[in-house]
Symmetry: C2
Amino acid sequence: MKIGALSRRTGVSIRMLRYYEAEGLLTPERTEGGYRDYGPGDEDTIERIRLLGSAGMTLSVIRMFLPCSLDHRQAFEPCDELKSELCRQIDLIDEQKRKLAKSRKLLADLLTMFEASTP
Amino acid sequence: MKIGALSRRTGVSIRMLRYYEAEGLLTPERTEGGYRDYGPGDEDTIERIRLLGSAGMTLSVIRMFLPCSLDHRQAFEPCDELKSELCRQIDLIDEQKRKLAKSRKLLADLLTMFEASTP
DNA sequence: TTACCGTCTGACAGCACTGTCAGGGTCAAG
DNA sequence: CTTGACCCTGACAGTGCTGTCAGACGGTAA
């Protein structure tokens, strides 16, 4: 699959697909002509990248977890660091959820206030 | 209250407090000597800014909502735009919560996988 | 072969922050 | 009055994206 097709299928811009590759998150094959040639599994990878990215993880952090999240096995040595980093990220997400709930309440209160004043 | 004290009390860097002012989110008084002089209410404002900011709202969007969120009344005309923007932001938060839940599951699964492989 | 679309690389630009440094002023304590 | 802590402005730098443009090549259909 060429980059344009993948972009259309995933909704991720061509620019970002190339950026992911530059950052080492994606390593598509190349055709003889030099075109990037993505496999079907890359779609999953991209979904994971977007998911983790939307959780506030930086690309370099995502890069740490991506291989094992794909292979579904541990494929490297420094497991303790990775594990603690994993815990840290989960804690961050939980805190983010709390903040999100508070923000939502703030905005929702604002909204009901608006509704009340413009019947 | 001078900027250093406010920074210590809120945990927000002096740099950012000045930035908030430059962006129109905070307008502290000035002493004769030219020092910023913050009131106690500014602490609340900053908490709101951080909260909404952590929900992914940009400073210019926060600036829209800040006055009414503080005054607890509507203090401007273009209420319809504001209201729809408000709804939009709430929707964004809800979507973010969904993504966060997915991300958390991904990471948690990874973690249990790790635990299983290193008893 | 000529169009034309898709792709390549590389570079520049912009946003929203956030840090840091320089050069200079304020102010309270000794 | 001097010292030292604190503050001021302005500017430059860097991160993590993300878009866009230029100039060139690949591949294919008429």
